[in-house]
Symmetry: C3
Subunit: 198 residues, 3 copies
């Protein structure tokens, strides 16, 4: 179930990267690379910073295949994808929740402090998009206007709160994912954004 959600998240992140790349009129190689970093860049950065090398996708090719399929899907159905926008958004949000939890657990497995583990979870879920934006020569959107990383951070804080309260891990997973997904959905529905400061 967990792997299934993880795969769906990777697939949808890859599609969103491929769409961004097509908007920038990149060639198929560029589209694939942008899809790749959007889907796997956050986890790759996490693995490099904690010293878990070779990084994840080098040892488990399933992720690479999923990105390839996602890229092809985005290329061939690019004119139809508007009809799917709502489903894609939903899966993207699910990916956000699942990747946050996976990242947090990697932090715990590496004996890192809870604050660092939450940071790592947030990085896993949201920094693929940061790398995508840098490669596309944009200031990362999650630094400017989207409630995205914030949802991961709040979810991560609840994760550790529930862990300290002794909740069973299945429940922690479900509730953490629900919080991340819920915040993200509400933020988009009501166009909430963090205020800019100047």
């Amino acid at each position: 179930m967990f792997f299934f959600l993880d795969s769906i998240g990777t697939f949808v992140f890859a599609i969103s990267g491929a769409l961004a790349a097509m908007n920038k009129r990149l060639d198929p190689f560029g589209i694939f690379i942008i899809a790749f970093v959007t889907a796997l860049g956050g986890g790759t950065l996490r693995d490099v910073l904690i010293g878990h090398t070779p990084v994840g996708w080098m040892e488990n090719l399933d992720y690479v295949y999923i990105v390839i399929v996602g890229t092809l899907f985005a290329i061939f159905f690019r004119r139809k994808i508007d009809y799917l926008r709502k489903s894609l958004f939903l899966f993207d949000t699910i990916g956000l929740g699942v990747f946050t939890i996976i990242g947090i657990e990697k932090g715990i497995a590496t004996d890192l402090h809870p604050i660092i583990s939450v940071a790592i979870g947030t990085m896993s879920a949201s920094f693929g998009g940061v790398i995508r934006d840098i490669l596309c020569n944009e200031i990362p959107v999650i630094f400017r206007k989207e409630v995205y990383a914030t949802a991961c951070i709040v979810g991560g804080v609840f994760y550790f709160t529930m862990l300290w309260l002794g909740f069973p891990s299945q429940l922690i997973y479900v509730l953490t994912a629900t919080i991340v997904i819920g915040i993200r959905l509400l933020a988009v529905k009501y166009s909430l954004r963090l205020p800019t400061i100047q």
Copy 2:
């Protein structure tokens, strides 16, 4: 004393990152991330390249707390900070000297060649600003017009010269920092810059 200067440097680098982020009208999450990479990005890159993982700030949270405080300081006092510009510049320059020395010592501890150790010291002190500029979608300022990295390189060369001459390490620290700080202060005072070549 050394840790104290190191902390001051981190604090001021974080403030300078936060100010740059506010100029780009980022939201609070973006401001924090830019402050973070400006203060800790150079050392993080160094740690990744030499294989010292998990990277420094994951194992010593003091740095993370300092960046948080620096970010909040920059946000709340952003209208007053002009009055502090001179003090901030001075502390930024002290940070440059201290980070150069810390980086060089990490290189020595990793058994790297003196040339590589100087490169690592320079990277520790100045590449946080490079990552900041990339995230803010600018060509890094230290590649274009500031005498900044050059001060670190010259300081590093003197560090090893004094080491070979058998100077005591306390004296080496003080003199290296003085050289880096002195070059940087003179360069800014007289608007010196490296020539561009075209």
Copy 3:
């Protein structure tokens, strides 16, 4: 012979980076850094992702010296370099072939899957230019219009095909390099590019 070609490739990649940096009117420090990342950035990224740290150029300074000489060459002969454009292009292409093979062999030595090894070979040969373009605030040219990485990928596929067919390694090297170089030369000669998709 192999080291010789490798050095020539590094030298020419450094020159191409330095020329790009001078076009952006960077100062000498910036020119050196761009030359450095163009020549050694792909291999550095590869080493970080597979966990081969300290990264290559920290342990073998020859590469650093070659980049320094390449940078100085580009600066002093920048007005003459147009006459050399054809030779430089040829050596750049040779570098592409040689770096692809070196990267693939590192992947094999790290026990990675052939698909990942081809990816690593492509990264070694072509991602220095990606980092150069990011630092120069451009969308990477190999994502947009150049048949460059594609040549490495095709060469890598042939490498493993020949390995499975039991070809002797000397022959595999020569043929793989020939394929990469041939595709790249033909693509430039006939202005071939991958189609953009929008």
